[in-house]
């Protein structure tokens, strides 16, 4: 297993346990290295200036009472973290985000897999379908959310009209605190499916055809082929889709914030990132918002770490 994993990036990664070749720094070599670094410089500088500096400064800010404007900022230790954990609004945002994940992960991954399998087979006009399903990904989140706000409109929104055809009573998609988060899940999943589908498609194309031929020779049914060949060999793609969806889900912000511009009913669609945005840019508590952001980072980090550990059990690299 571990041997297999290594082969993935074998060319770039020096093998462990082997002493590195001793490098002799001839002038030519030095120059070559210098050139290399010069080419890297723009990227490295960008990384430093736009990533490392803000990251570290937000960590520092989270231990202060900073507001958005330059005033006498005091260091207040971990007060922000303690307050955040005890803040009932933040707690609600955390549980809302959890509820979002429960709906979002299956709804954005399973249909994406199904679509990918369908569009991988030889059907007419599959390029058209691929484009159609990928289009929501290209559309701006804000535009999409505004559009859905109208689709979900109570009195004459198409969604309720459609449900009416089947005799289902109108639903307060946006006005009811029971439905608000479900609406967000629908919109976010709808938009994420296309992206996940493309990832699955790429994964499917990487599965060698002869495995299916061998399976057919052995008398495997379509379902057995899917279950025994496709699914196991797709696990690297599934793993990647799962991790990125999880992280995206934990950071969900634009959809609810746009759909509920003035605030969701009884904060029922308030997510962690939305709440920290409000704290930072509406109530000016930049230090407090930074603390929330770092708490979120911590959660994402731990969850991802756990996933990587668990992945060793179910992800098969060919």
């Amino acid at each position: 297993m571990s041997e297999q994993v290594k082969t993935v990036g074998a060319a770039a990664v020096p093998r462990r346990g082997r002493t590195r070749e001793k490098v002799v720094w001839t002038p030519a070599r030095t120059r070559e290295a210098l050139v290399g670094y010069l080419f890297l410089l723009p990227n490295l500088l960008g990384l430093l200036i736009f990533l490392a500096v803000p990251l570290l400064s937000s960590l520092y800010t989270s231990f202060t009472d900073a507001n958005i404007f330059p005033t006498n900022t005091k260091i207040i230790g971990v007060t922000n973290y303690i307050n955040a954990v005890n803040d009932s609004t933040f707690q609600q945002a955390v549980s809302n985000t959890g509820a979002f994940l429960i709906g979002f992960l299956p709804l954005s991954i399973i249909p994406a897999l199904a679509l990918a399998v369908l569009l991988h087979s030889q059907i007419r006009g599959k390029t058209v379908f691929r484009v159609a399903f990928f289009l929501p990904v290209v559309a701006s989140v804000v535009g999409v959310s505004l559009l859905w706000r109208w689709l979900f409109q109570y009195d004459f929104g198409p969604v309720n009209q459609l449900l009416g055809l089947f005799g289902i009573a109108k639903i307060h998609w946006l006005e009811s605190s029971d439905w608000a988060m479900i609406s967000v899940i629908v919109v976010a999943s709808w938009q994420a499916i296309g992206y996940n589908m493309v990832l699955f498609l790429a994964g499917l194309q990487g599965i060698p055809r002869q495995l299916y031929e061998a399976a057919v020779v052995d008398g495997a049914t379509e379902w057995q082929q899917f279950r025994r060949v496709t699914l196991p060999l797709l696990t690297p793609a599934t793993f990647f889709v799962f991790i990125t969806s999880l992280i995206k889900g934990l950071q969900v912000f634009s959809e609810p914030a746009t759909m509920f511009n003035g605030g969701s009913p009884a904060n029922s669609a308030l997510t962690v990132v939305w709440e920290l945005y409000l704290e930072g840019f509406r109530y000016f508590k930049l230090g407090y918002a930074s603390a929330m952001a770092w708490l979120l980072f911590l959660v994402i980090f731990v969850v991802t770490l756990i996933q990587f550990r668990l992945s060793e059990r179910w992800v098969n690299y060919e």
Partner: protein, 445 residues
């Protein structure tokens, strides 16, 4: 060797160019973040002699028509201020204050900017605004007494003057006269004339109008409309000194319960939505009999309503009540030339400027002098413009809160709880019991 040095030259060149490009786009972007060129960027008047003073000002136009009016206003003012390079820099409703805050934080906010009345304190208390009191005092051609007292008293704090009110609006009842006729009901104006425009008749009228896909009453989902019910019941958003919430009093609770009953018992009101255009769209589509809204709603109704409509004062509960919303032009504390910025404020708050804006229909001038009021009254429909003016006599002025952050108080704690009351998930009495504990930590001790 030759190849190598050429390579390193290329590498150096690439990185330098990229860096330059990055820096360049940075400097170009900072002022442009506020659309249009910035105050830091005096335009090319230099060649003709003395450089002009660049002043950038901003409002929050609701649509293209309103933006055009303000642009025309800016062009007009520009003619009378030849030494100033005036730039109108509008910003949309969505995220208006978020953007402004960011610009204040980065030092790129406009010199003169309109802000909602309730927010003015939050800017002033963060030392972001220029105290224009000395400028007003020494300017003999400007009379603060020409403006409505309520907003002026609010924008004046501890002897500082943080802005000049631009516009006011009371809340009023917009009503669909055709729907009243079809149901053979007396309109709010009829009831007003008979002295019967009170909460009993309000509720029964709303109920009588409701049926099928038509609702009796509509209100948008923000604190203005629902808190009318609080004040009309004798309650208040804050206690007397504004050091704590006032929503825990029996009066406030009674007001909110009355609203909750209109929604959940009578079903006379569609559930307010965060997409708060909905109730307005429904009214314009003729599906709502009465709508609580401010003057800003008028242009939209004029444009969209295909029925007869008018406005009336808010009904009387225990007391007469309505809000007096207002917003001042404030001056950026960091403006390079306060005198020039003041002359701009004066130009855009002059009686003639305000008359032009009033004509468009979305604003009531913040001036109470007759010329301004007259300009407003003749901007119809609605026929009964007087209802907006009459309301100013007993209205509560939108409150800049100095003892807490208004947005945090309202959006983080109050609104979510009121949402529950409005949707019938919590009684007003239960809210009254919980709200003080939830909001107390927000007030400065």
């Amino acid at each position: 060797m030759n190849r190598n040095s050429r390579m390193s030259a290329l590498g150096l060149f690439t990185s330098t160019m990229l860096l330059l490009a990055a820096c360049d786009s940075n400097t170009a972007n900072t002022p442009a973040a506020g659309t249009g060129s910035g105050a830091t960027n005096p335009t090319a008047a230099g060649s003709t002699g003395g450089a002009k003073i660049a002043i950038r000002w901003r409002t929050r136009p609701g649509d293209a028509a309103e933006q055009a009016v303000y642009q025309a206003l800016s062009d007009e003012a520009q003619k009378n201020l030849p030494d100033i390079d005036l730039k109108y820099d509008p910003s949309p409703n969505q995220g208006y204050e978020d953007k402004l805050n960011t610009e204040f934080a980065s030092g790129t906010a406009p010199d003169v900017v309109w802000v909602p009345g309730a927010s003015s304190a939050s800017y002033a208390s963060r030392n972001l605004l220029y105290d224009i009191k000395p400028l007003v005092d020494k300017d003999t051609s400007f009379k603060l007494g020409d403006f409505y007292d309520g907003p002026v008293n609010e924008v004046m704090h501890d002897g500082h003057l943080w802005g000049i009110p631009r516009d006011v609006s009371t809340l009023a009842i917009y009503y669909n006269a055709d729907l009243f006729k079809a149901k053979n009901l007396p309109t709010p104006t009829d009831l007003m004339k008979q002295g019967k425009w009170d909460w009993d008749n309000f509720r029964s009228t709303a109920k009588a109008l409701t049926g099928g896909d038509t609702y009796g009453l509509g209100l948008a989902d923000w604190w203005g409309p629902w808190s009318y019910f609080v004040y009309a019941a004798g309650g208040s958003l804050f206690n007397k000194d504004k050091t704590a919430t006032g929503l825990d009093t029996p009066e406030s609770v009674a007001g909110l319960q009355y609203l909750s009953d209109l929604i959940n018992v009578d079903k006379s009101i569609p559930l307010p939505t965060a997409a708060n255009v909905d109730a307005e769209a429904l009214f314009n589509a003729g599906k709502i009999g009465m709508m609580i809204n401010g003057r800003w709603f008028t242009p939209g109704v004029r444009q969209n309503a295909k029925f007869k409509w008018d406005v009336e004062e808010m009904p009387k509960g225990k007391a007469n009540a309505t809000w007096l919303f207002w917003g001042p032009y404030v001056m950026n504390a960091k403006t390079a030339n306060p005198d020039a910025a003041w002359r701009v404020i004066k130009a855009i708050t002059s009686a003639s400027a305000m008359g032009k804006v009033a004509d468009m229909g979305s604003n009531i001038p913040a001036r109470k002098d007759q010329a301004a009021v007259d300009a407003f009254l003749k901007s119809s429909p609605p026929a009964n413009n007087q209802a907006f003016i009459s309301g100013t006599k007993y209205a509560t002025s939108e409150i800049p809160l100095w003892t807490a952050d208004f947005n945090e108080y309202m959006n983080k704690q109050v609104q979510p709880m009121v949402d529950k009351v409005i949707s019938g998930k919590m009684t007003a009495a239960d809210m009254g019991k919980q709200i003080k504990a939830a909001t107390d930590p927000l007030f400065k001790k």
